[in-house]
């Protein structure tokens, strides 16, 4: 792909992917930009513009081939291969994420869980034991992981992130309530739940203000 695709378009791709999966599950083989527009509540012109970035899979009068478009977007998102994941922090959130079977279906395979809490060590999640953080270095000698899910408390997260990166993992899905300070070649995707909740709170108050 020679053309650089804007981050705004990239940000929208997972949503297209989700809707296309639904269409496949409903047995729908092709769809026009207008029909997709009605479902996704995005203008048809936006859809055409977005999807044209990938060479335009649509054909005049035929619409989009759902399976083809689904596969192509999957490739762009790197979902045609698989990723091995380790979960660092096996508390409630770590366990919840480890239990998401859907991630596995999309090629995200959990291979290890780590924590420092003695109450958790030895417990298993979907057959995988929770190991002590002290075992992480040894574990990584025998295993390949390319994503670490970080759900540790704020005060432990930075140090763990550095350790993870030193062990050669260059992608972190960060649920810890801080922004990580890591080398530029490390890919970090933040899920700051408290920020999201505050955003919701703002919108509640703002809606009330408008109604007064």
């Amino acid at each position: 792909m020679a053309k650089k695709i804007s981050q705004a378009v990239i940000r929208r791709l997972p949503r297209y992917y989700r809707y296309l999966r639904d269409l496949l599950d409903e047995g729908i083989e092709r769809i026009s930009s207008n029909e997709l527009s009605a479902r996704m509540k995005v203008t048809a012109s936006q859809i055409r513009q977005d999807l044209n970035n990938f060479g335009g899979f649509g054909q005049q009068g035929y619409g989009y081939n759902v399976q083809y478009l689904y596969d192509e977007i999957g490739k762009i998102l790197g979902l045609d291969g698989h990723h091995n994941i380790i979960v660092i922090g096996a508390g409630n959130m770590g366990q919840a994420l480890a239990n998401y079977v859907n991630f596995e279906k999309r090629g995200f395979i959990m291979i290890g869980l780590f924590d420092v809490n003695p109450d958790l060590i030895g417990k298993t999640i979907r057959g995988i034991p929770i190991r002590h953080m002290d075992e992480l270095t040894d574990f990584m000698k025998d295993h390949e992981a390319d994503i670490a899910v970080l759900t540790l408390p704020k005060d432990q997260a930075e140090k763990a992130a550095e350790q993870i990166v030193n062990l050669g993992i260059h992608a972190i899905w960060n649920f810890a309530h801080l922004d990580l300070n890591l080398p530029k070649d490390v890919v970090v995707e933040n899920v700051h739940l408290s920020d999201s909740l505050m955003q919701l709170s703002y919108n509640i108050v703002e809606t009330r203000r408008r109604q007064v």
Copy 2:
């Protein structure tokens, strides 16, 4: 507040709030836009522009009063009062969210948990029993909730969301893997974890492509 603040600025406020909380915890009473810039890795001019939206709490040569700025942003985000929350879907994710003590500190009080899974009914999370969804209508006669956290599987989420809205709750923190179709006056904040994971996957693949 007469002036309309852009959504882009609003989106950044929770992050300011988080950093200001850290400063308070470190006992720092005032900070210049340059110092805040170095911490947050945002330009000082962006910080000044953002914070000027609120009448400019900064003073030349003094910097920002951290407590004052924290309180003001808290008010804007609606964090000076409190919100009662019910959790719909008390599986792993619902329980993980219900266990976040930090939310409580910021005024988000969990008052009820609901599910349909008989194995979960009666179990308690932080002293609050998980009730059957059938009890929700009765529960709402005696309780006031203004936010529902929705963590049900996709196929149950839409119906539950409609029920929630009919019971008078107009704010939904949606973790279900779909976009809800609700009246315009309902505030929805989506946390689409699978979209976030796909975004991470894209960035991994893209980084590799650049390195080739």
